[in-house]
Symmetry: C2
Subunit: 310 residues, 2 copies
């Protein structure tokens, strides 16, 4: 008599371990079926991010656990940018075929457990292997608090105030792998400040702010003193290493995953400060991004940052 | 004055073309925001598949249009396997950096347009480039007809009848790229035959049937004459080329994307035949997969097939 279990190795074993880890989380549909089930009682938001070895992480340097964590965290950051609450994730991987089972397991378990801490378990996926570098793509579904709309990036209006959830620049020194997605403060901002627009900084403050302004049809003036106060100490450390100015690192480094919140001018500044937000400047009628120097002069800020597929 | 538009190339241009193609499809949230919106009025099913150049397609041989079509079609096949109706898709790509803009565009447009023909537009995604082979991962959300449950893979019971939506084997000769997902017949099966279980054949008839049986806790007997009548002519052609038997190709070749439907024994056989289904055998109490020869002898069928990450 044939013994099927002996015939199937590798992928099946991994999927079974995953099923035990994730088990019973997809409603009436069991883990491992052709699709998984999510049961929303309201509109869902939906995002996907793909990370590639040698581009978004370096498997020679980073642990598979930290890579799995990041693959989930970048999606949770998208949820934060819309003030949404993540519900569930799907994970597709193309694993380099030299990866051991334990490495693959660490990668997937870390993604699941990090998501779970924010209410976002993995509920399914697709596991593959190949001879090229590892790719991991996670897709996340999220919802808004009942009665609240997602915070889009196209709602900024001239005269709004621009705030940051934390200092930026130099994330490559480590924060790009272990940042905490700004889900909790995003809820506070949505609840207390009724922001007109938000975006998370994945490709650099200048480029992501420009994307928001471009979507909203307005421009912005950043105040030099405020901008300099929002420079992360990592940007200063990196500046010593590579000779770039700390301000340039703050404007152009990617993967800070702080939020840019565009808040109506009559929102209480006191609340912004209590939430630990950092002021950055104001939106204006004229398109483009300007720096207001201490002497009042306005100089253009070049828009560049991390961009795939140039 | 800076001119931001000149500073951003490549990815932005691709995303803008996509936005024009997909525009306005994500409810109140515009294409290009951090997440997209889906508005379900019932539970959603959710799946993901990742295709890699050199594994699931060969960009030296296949057009980017056919690759994009396949990337969507494999997900639609998952929907068919649950008798679900696809609603929307998200697409993440890591494009080899030698790909031209037009190639990338063909890939994504083909995925979108093929999905759209089945009511499943792309509504968002993540575009990346790198120096390794191209990876494309599409995630699809689907729903069931109101009042109907998804057809799972774990509901088969001993004594059920096993049917196939079409002949299998030899898909590598071309059908693995241009198959039509069995969405329409899946609806007919669900409506008229009330199947206990279904699965689509992605990794081979023997392996996928075994997965269904394993999930359901039963076994199956395939009737040799019926099995032989379900051999695709491509399996016979391939058999001439490579010396493998046609029956082996039918049992073990992957990517047929036909459905295996497990139907209660009292379902009208007439209806099955009218739908063009091919009989294969019956489920039994004892685990494992057996072939019933013309003389009545039962011989075990080895379980093997395409499996990643051995």
């Amino acid at each position: 008599m044939n013994e099927p279990v002996r015939e199937v190795r590798g992928e099946l074993q991994l999927v079974r371990r995953l099923a035990a880890l994730l088990g019973g989380r997809a409603g009436s549909v069991k883990f491992g079926d052709d699709m998984c089930l999510i049961e929303p009682d309201q509109p869902l938001l939906w995002t996907v991010d793909m990370l590639m070895d040698g581009v978004d992480f370096d498997s020679r340097q980073h642990s598979w656990q930290s890579i799995g964590r990041k693959a989930m965290a970048v999606n949770l950051s998208d949820c934060a940018a819309m003030a949404a609450l993540p519900v569930a994730g799907l994970c597709a991987v193309a694993l380099n075929d030299r990866l051991g089972m334990e490495d693959a397991w660490e990668l997937l378990r870390a993604a699941h457990e990090f998501g779970l801490a924010y209410g976002c378990p993995l509920v399914g996926g697709d596991t593959n292997s190949w001879s090229s570098p590892t790719v991991i793509s996670i897709s996340v579904a999220a919802r808004c608090e009942p009665g609240r709309e997602p915070v889009r990036r196209d709602g900024a209006r001239p005269g709004d105030r621009i705030w940051l959830t934390g200092p930026v620049g130099g994330s490559i020194l480590g924060r790009h792998m272990d940042f905490e997605p700004r889900l909790r403060i995003a809820q506070q901002i949505a609840l207390h400040l009724h922001p007109h627009a938000m975006i998370d900084i994945s490709d650099g403050l200048a480029l992501d702010l420009w994307r928001l302004l471009d979507a909203s049809g307005c421009g912005a003036v950043l105040e030099q003193e405020a901008l300099d106060a929002a420079i992360h100490e990592d940007a200063r450390r990196l500046s010593v290493q590579d000779g770039g100015s700390p301000r340039e690192h703050a404007l152009y480094d990617g993967e800070d995953f702080e939020l840019i919140a565009i808040v109506p001018s009559d929102a209480p500044e006191e609340t912004c400060r209590e939430l630990g937000l950092l002021p950055l400047g104001r939106t204006v009628d004229q398109n483009g991004l300007l720096l207001e120097q201490a002497d009042g002069r306005l100089v253009p800020i070049t828009i560049r940052g991390w961009e795939h597929f140039r």
